[in-house]
């Protein structure tokens, strides 16, 4: 039986294994994803981003608990950075979510960025798709902790949540303007801290200065104390309000079109690269090209043009 068939029958080991194959770039994973795709598309995807230590994982834990109380099944994809020096990673987001570890209605997967920029791993979208096909009603994606405008998550999730903490003080001015544009919901977590009111105020002011959005959605600033669960019910309500707004307007069509276009182009890029590069690497020609480049016997532009032209001339069967 294929992994996809086993997954559709509720086999969590098969799901975990396919996620590994996706992450490790196995070609077989693509065949399984083709089979799962028709069974996906009904999960509500929430992306959570924000600086390191802001409380993203703690919020994910609480939001998961809230959705479980509503009887929803929840998938979680938690991304942490790969060390550029060793290629290894410590994936520690689960620490905050342990109470859900043996709940059959929750599936948590930790992923390392493996050199990918943009706050998530290359595999994140497909891993979320597997959870979707497994029947998860809600899939929450936690990005790595960087306060940049993580465009990847915006294109992936129905609702993008930006988590901040009080005490950013004047730094809030320094926050990349981009991050104010990506959030559908803003959270000031750790609002037990003294500066919370000010941070909420400043953030609200900055959001009001943003020009009106094409989707007519006005992002709110929510306050939470994730470690105590304070403000979570209101936060989940706001998610649901955004979700209704998105699905009740033309914005959903735009979102799906952009997501489709982006996914198509990414897969195309990967495939074209692999088509051209794999044979070069296999027959040792890549090593010779590298040598020629190092000795300046050729320029990189001509080198690429030559191999691309050759690959297309050879046709699809080679």
């Amino acid at each position: 039986m294929s992994l996809a068939e086993r997954i559709l029958q509720g086999d969590t080991r098969a799901a975990a294994r396919l996620m590994r194959d996706i992450d490790d770039g196995y070609a077989s994973a693509r065949e399984e994803l083709k089979l799962l795709y028709p069974h996906s598309g009904s999960a509500y995807l929430i992306g959570i981003t924000g600086p390191p230590g802001a409380g993203k994982s703690t919020l994910v834990d609480q939001v998961t608990e809230a959705y479980r109380r509503r009887g929803k099944r929840v998938g979680i994809v938690a991304v942490d950075p790969t060390s550029p020096f060793t290629g290894g990673a410590i994936l520690g987001d689960r620490i905050r979510m342990n109470r859900h570890a043996d709940d059959e209605g929750v599936f948590i997967r930790s992923l390392a960025t493996r050199g990918h920029l943009g706050g998530v791993s290359r595999s994140t979208g497909d891993v979320a798709l597997v959870m979707d096909a497994m029947g998860m009603d809600v899939v929450i994606i936690e990005t790595v902790g960087v306060g940049q405008d993580e465009v990847d998550i915006v294109k992936m999730a129905h609702t993008t949540v930006v988590v901040m903490v009080p005490g950013l003080g004047d730094d809030i001015q320094a926050i990349k303007a981009g991050i104010l544009e990506i959030g559908d919901v803003f959270v000031v977590n750790k609002s037990d801290r003294p500066d919370a009111d000010r941070t909420v105020r400043e953030l609200t002011t900055m959001l009001e200065m943003n020009s009106a959005r094409a989707d007519d959605w006005r992002p709110k600033v929510m306050r939470t104390e994730a470690h105590r669960g304070t403000g979570i019910a209101e936060l989940v309500e706001e998610f649901e309000t955004h979700r209704s707004h998105l699905f009740g307007s033309a914005a959903i069509n735009r979102f799906l079109a952009e997501k489709g276009a982006r996914t198509f182009m990414e897969i195309l890029k990967d495939r074209l690269f692999a088509e051209v590069f794999a044979p070069l690497e296999a027959d040792g020609r890549f090593a010779r090209i590298v040598d020629d480049l190092a000795n300046r016997r050729i320029d990189p532009y001509s080198a690429v043009e030559a191999v691309v032209a050759e690959r297309f001339a050879a046709g699809a069967d080679n």
């Binding site: 490790d24 342990n98 570890a101 043996d102 948590i108």
Partner: protein
């Protein structure tokens, strides 16, 4: 075909209080190029086994100081077997009397490290004995 990255779960079952040893090992594994799923303190065997399956790890390293090793470690092995996941190797480390080691290995632990083992020893053992499952 792409190469697999070794995935290891490091956890600390039981009730005792600190996870210094587990953190040191987690860092050593990261520095060895592994992906370490670090689950922290106070894990039940059930939580460890569910996490190991969801994360598709190749092995589980458990740090234990509480003296409850003779119940908690075999329980993890037994639960993995029940879930048809005993191809995930389990090893343990901590304050474990030599006399208990044969019993633990009988129960399914692949290796037991005592306070005398260095982190290098442990990393080397994993490199030599654990291979990413095909």
């Amino acid at each position: 075909m792409a190469e697999r990255t070794l995935r290891v779960l490091v956890g600390k079952p039981g009730l005792d209080g600190h996870d210094r040893g587990a953190k040191i090992i987690a860092r050593a594994f990261r520095d060895a190029g592994f992906e370490v799923i670090y689950t922290g303190l106070h894990q039940t065997p059930e939580q460890i086994v569910s996490a190991a399956i969801q994360e598709d790890v190749d092995c589980v390293g458990l740090s234990i100081l509480s003296g409850a090793h003779n119940t908690l470690l075999p329980r993890v092995c037994q639960l993995l077997k029940e879930k048809d996941a005993d191809d995930i190797m389990v090893f343990g480390g901590g304050v474990i009397p030599d006399d208990d080691i044969p019993g633990l290995k009988n129960a399914g632990l692949k290796e037991v490290f005592t306070p005398g083992s260095s982190t290098e020893d442990i990393v080397k053992w994993v490199r030599d004995n654990v291979h990413p499952r095909a």
